[in-house]
């Protein structure tokens, strides 16, 4: 995706793409889940089938409130983010602090791949280096808090998720440092603003 840059006006940090409510990957998952449910019904009997169904529906209603909260946070943060400041903090000269800030941004900026990759490429356009961009994407992937709250905790419980996140904390910074090492070896991979 090309993001046009006009002097004085930073490019839109959050470019949203319309998501279809149903896509092929969802259809694939649906097919697998339906097969699993059918197997349970015929192998383990009706009672077991409805036992699992009621337990999972319970979980579903439990998750609903968190999902809607996560979506609202994403929509508001996308509109409130101070763009000029963000681009100043993670520019090419930002050093280790830039990696740290980029990782923090990735952790706290909500959204799925629909929002995060356009944001990352906007970073590049305004002059962020490969290290900061990699730290940002990796932090979003591994530490993103809306994802942890909305999806992980209902499946795994608080303790498991807390340990996972604690152990993952240094990793985005490490990925950013590695990315800078790689770019030093492969200078032509450095994205051009």
């Amino acid at each position: 995706m090309e993001v046009e840059q006009t002097p004085g006006a930073p490019p839109p940090l959050i470019a949203r793409r319309k998501r279809k409510p149903f896509d092929w990957s969802t259809a694939g998952i649906l097919a697998v889940m339906a097969t699993a449910a059918t197997i349970v019904y015929f192998r383990d009997g009706r009672v077991r089938f409805f036992e699992i169904l009621s337990h999972d529906l319970h979980l579903f209603f439990d998750v609903l409130l968190k999902v809607i909260a996560g979506c609202l946070i994403g929509a508001f943060v996308a509109r409130l983010l101070p763009r000029e400041a963000v681009t100043r903090w993670i520019g090419a000269e930002s050093g280790f602090l830039g990696l740290l800030i980029a990782a923090l941004l990735g952790t706290f900026l909500p959204g799925g791949p629909v929002t995060i990759y356009p944001v990352a490429s906007a970073f590049v356009v305004v002059g962020a280096d490969a290290g900061a961009t990699v730290a940002f994407v990796t932090a979003w992937t591994m530490l993103g808090y809306t994802r942890a709250l909305v999806w992980e905790i209902p499946f795994f419980g608080l303790e498991f998720v807390a340990w996972r996140i604690l152990l993952s904390c240094p990793l985005p910074i490490l990925a950013g440092l590695l990315a800078r090492l790689i770019i030093r070896r492969m200078p032509h991979w450095e994205p051009k603003p």
Binding site: S25, V32, L59
Partner: protein, 165 residues
């Protein structure tokens, strides 16, 4: 109790952001609200399928095979299997989580499950092809992939070392 607190915090954040948006302008507030609700409605079918389906997935997964390939005794080999499996699993928000929760229930070890989840989050082939490659500069994508390769292994090693979760 703790979960209740986490959920409360989530809504405190929502309220604070909504207030900040409302102070900046009525249109900003209304647009944010509308978009948040629309996103929620779009996600709803996926959440339903993922959450309701994962229970059946767990019931169907063969525990002996999971335990042999990914169990606590499977060690580093299990981690490698988990990383490859994670990269090959389809993207989308629910898939990786429901599969790993099911695997954990049927006897996989925590470090192996962490490696699977992380590899899925970092490398899921489908997300990589659909989202990352078309949007990001090529060289940067390769840099990210190479720089991220050690991460699932490091996380699994850290989990084995600490003995948690």
């Amino acid at each position: 109790m703790m979960l209740f607190f986490v959920e409360g915090l989530l809504w405190v954040i929502v309220a604070a952001l909504a207030l900040a948006a409302a102070v900046r302008g009525r249109i900003l507030f209304r647009e944010g609200l509308r978009e948040g609700v629309m996103d929620f409605l779009r996600l709803l079918p996926k959440v339903l399928i993922g959450v309701v389906g994962s229970g059946y997935m767990a019931a169907v997964m063969p525990p002996d095979i999971i335990a042999r390939w990914l169990g606590p005794e499977s060690g580093f080999f299990g981690v490698v299997v988990a990383v490859i499996g994670g990269a090959l699993s389809p993207g989308g928000p629910v898939v990786g989580f429901s599969i790993s929760a099911a695997a954990l229930k049927s006897g996989a070890g925590a470090p192996q499950v962490l490696a699977y989840m992380t590899a899925w989050a970092l490398f899921a082939v489908q997300r990589f092809i659909l989202w990352e490659l078309p949007i990001m500069p090529r060289g940067l994508v390769w840099t990210r992939v190479i720089a991220s390769l050690p991460l699932p292994f490091l996380l699994a090693a850290a989990a084995m070392l600490v003995g948690k979760p």
